[in-house]
């Protein structure tokens, strides 16, 4: 390949890279910033490396379940109760000595993450062509 062609190739690739980066950073999808309490919970999540075993939107380890929408399963104060139970150590889950404020922050974090979308594209039986509403793969997901 001639040097001129190489420069063109690299130039094209650089343009693609910056274009793609611009697309990601200017994404128009509406998102909601975390509240102060949930922000504390996010810090607790990272400080304890919860991501080692659990996922948020499929990002993390697979030793434990995805927790993106766990708050939907435990509405209201049920989530706090569930957290108290699992953080004490159960099965493969180790014991985490979090104080009440940290636990409340973590609950707030998981509640607010739950409102942002569906964490796992689960294809299941439903009334929308065999897919459960709200659980469609992305190319049909509106």
């Amino acid at each position: 390949m001639r040097p001129g062609h190489r420069k063109l190739l690299l130039g094209f690739l650089a343009a693609c890279f910056f274009g793609q980066t611009a697309l990601v950073y200017s994404d128009p999808t509406p998102t909601t910033p975390l509240s102060e309490e949930a922000l504390g919970g996010a810090r607790t999540w990272h400080a304890n490396n919860c991501q080692s075993c659990h996922q948020i939107y499929g990002f993390g380890g697979f030793l434990g379940p995805d927790l993106t929408n766990v708050a939907a399963r435990y509405p209201g104060t049920a989530l706090d109760g569930w957290l108290t139970h699992v953080l004490a150590g159960t099965g493969q889950m180790p014991h985490f000595a979090l104080d009440e404020g940290e636990r409340a922050g973590l609950a707030a974090f998981l509640r607010e993450v739950d409102t942002t979308g569906i964490g796992q594209a689960r294809v299941g039986p439903g009334d929308s062509g065999g897919f459960a509403a709200g659980e469609l793969p992305w190319w049909e997901y509106e």
Binding site: M1, P3, R6, K7, L9, L10, C16, F17, Q20, L23, V24, D27, T29, T31, P33, L34, L39, A42, W45, H46, A47, N48, N49, C50, Q51, S52, C53, Y57, G58, F59, G60, G61, F62, L63, G64, P65, D66, L67, T68, N69, V70, A72, R73, Y74, G91, Q92, P94, F109, E112, T116, G117, G119, A121, R122, V123, G124, P137, W138, W139, Y141
Partner: protein
């Protein structure tokens, strides 16, 4: 075969190559040790015992991912320094200072990570689980490397073989992606979980792209050196690999984000591009292993025999690439992605590509680099390539294959049963069949143990050669596959491969 007496200015460059070989092998050993412990952790009873001993999975996993990445980067960098040995000329004082700075900074960072993560000091991020302060020496060391590399490779840059460009782009890419990995330090990013994950996935994808470029460059450089055919580095196929590899490195991470709230355009671009990279890589690895095989079959007996393990490792990367193509399709085609994402298929794909493609190519490079060490340095002629090591390389592939297969199989079963029996979020694998729940951890641990065993068998031979004291005189014959005490029968072995 004898090695000519060294030019004085070559000695330091040769030492630099050896230093990175040692660093890469050290990082591999750490990654293997914590990887084995992580695999054992998946057996509930063992996990509980390890927790009681104070060994936490939250420390093991980031240690494994960090040191596995370090192995790939350092292995690639050893090959880059081997290239600089030939192209660099005399080592200038400034260059020497930067090199020393780079090694010291990275050694400090490596030790720092090894100490702080078990103490629970973590950022809690994927791939970058260490405390962000330790990113400073890593980043500074990388900039020093870029300075040295571009100072030499920059001369006549556009005429140079494709691997020079791959390493150059990989280096710059690392600078970018490493910075982007730390975007979470900005309150606006950390405070928005969706934006945080959009950027984190993008940065992780680019990081993998960066080290892939180092590995692809290594494969082509190695092929060129072994065959003596310099045309390959200038070929259209090799440049196509660079183009497609690079395009993929900043788009194909999106198969992990199909369900993340973000622009569909980003996902479509990622999907369209992601199907292309492995096809071209398959072609390149296939062509290179064919070249090496042809050269070995028709070439000098000792040389061919001594490259037995290099051939096996490079050849196996071809089959791994084909297998990972299938795995990549599983993850990238949206309906299949919906089925398997969030299961062990993703882990199987990550481990398959990291061990099967990247590690096999880098181990082939290590075998080639270690064979260059003069026997006077090593003390005796220790075998780097021999029948036993070749068998170990085959065993290594079988064990890695079993591990990747099991993870894919378990992930697929999980995906299908999750489809058939949807359960509430956060319910720990209630959809998983009992037989899989009982076997997933133990089989994973057994495969991991076997893989670890084969790695140990390989490193048991190579580590003493790599860590033997450096001899600046650089005289004598290179370490070959031929041991000092060798029976005539072994020398006349028709396969041409020496026994250990």
């Amino acid at each position: 075969m004898t090695v000519p007496a060294p030019a004085a200015d070559q000695v330091s460059r040769r030492y630099a190559t050896l230093t990175f070989v040692r660093g890469a092998l050290a990082a591999l050993m750490v990654a293997l040790a914590v990887g084995l412990l992580s695999a054992l952790y998946s057996v509930p009873a063992l996990g509980e015992s390890m927790r009681k001993l104070g060994i936490q999975f939250t420390a093991l996993r980031p240690l494994h991912t960090i040191f596995a990445s370090a192995w790939i980067f350092l292995g690639g960098m050893a090959v880059v320094h081997r290239f600089l040995q030939e192209e660099g000329g005399p080592l200038k004082p400034g260059e020497r200072l930067r090199l020393r700075g780079q090694v010291l900074l990275w050694a400090f960072a490596g030790l720092g990570i090894l100490i702080t993560l078990p103490l629970g000091i973590t950022s809690g991020r994927e791939y970058m689980g260490h405390h962000p302060l330790l990113s400073i020496p890593i980043f500074a060391g990388w900039l020093l490397f870029c300075w040295n590399y571009f100072g030499i490779a920059g001369r006549g840059f556009w005429q140079r073989p494709v691997y020079v460009m791959m390493w150059a782009v990989g280096s710059l890419f690392f600078v970018y992606t490493f910075t982007e990995q730390h975007a979470y330090l900005l309150p606006g990013v950390f405070g928005d979980p969706v934006v945080d994950r959009q950027i984190q996935w993008k940065a992780c994808g680019t990081l993998v792209g960066s080290f892939n470029l180092f590995v692809y460059g290594t494969a082509i450089f190695l092929g060129e050196k072994i065959t003596g055919d310099k045309s390959y580095g200038q070929s259209r196929t090799a440049w196509a690999l660079l183009g497609i590899g690079l395009l993929n490195s900043f788009t194909n991470y999106t198969h992990h984000t199909y369900h993340l709230p973000q622009s569909h355009l980003v996902k479509w671009i990622g999907f369209c591009v992601s199907m292309t990279e492995l096809l071209i890589l398959l072609k390149v690895v296939g062509e290179l292993s064919a070249l090496v095989r042809a050269e070995s079959e028709g070439g000098r007996t000792e040389t061919a025999a001594g490259r037995c393990v290099t051939r096996i490792l490079l050849g196996s990367a071809k089959w791994w690439t084909a297998a990972m193509l299938v795995s990549s399709i599983l993850i990238s085609v949206p309906p299949l992605n919906a089925l398997v994402h969030g299961t062990y298929v993703v882990t199987g794909h990550a481990m398959g590509t990291t061990i099967g493609i990247d590690t096999m190519i880098l181990l082939a490079a290590m075998s080639w680099l270690l064979r260059e060490r003069p026997s006077t340095e090593v003390g005796v002629r220790k075998p780097v390539d021999c029948k036993q090591i070749c068998r170990t390389a085959i065993g290594l592939n079988i064990a890695a294959g079993a591990l990747a297969f099991w993870l894919h199989f378990a992930g697929l079963v999980d995906g299908v049963t999750r489809y058939l029996h949807p359960v509430g979020a956060g319910q720990a694998f209630a959809y998983r069949p009992a037989w899989l729940q009982a076997s997933i951890g133990p089989v994973f641990a057994i495969c991991g143990l076997a893989l670890f065993g084969f790695f140990v068998m390989l490193l048991r031979r190579w580590v003493p050669v790599a860590f033997a004291p450096f001899d600046p005189e650089m005289l004598g014959e290179p370490v070959s596959g031929w041991p000092l005490e060798q029976s005539p029968e072994e020398r006349e072995d028709p396969s041409g491969i020496p026994a250990c």
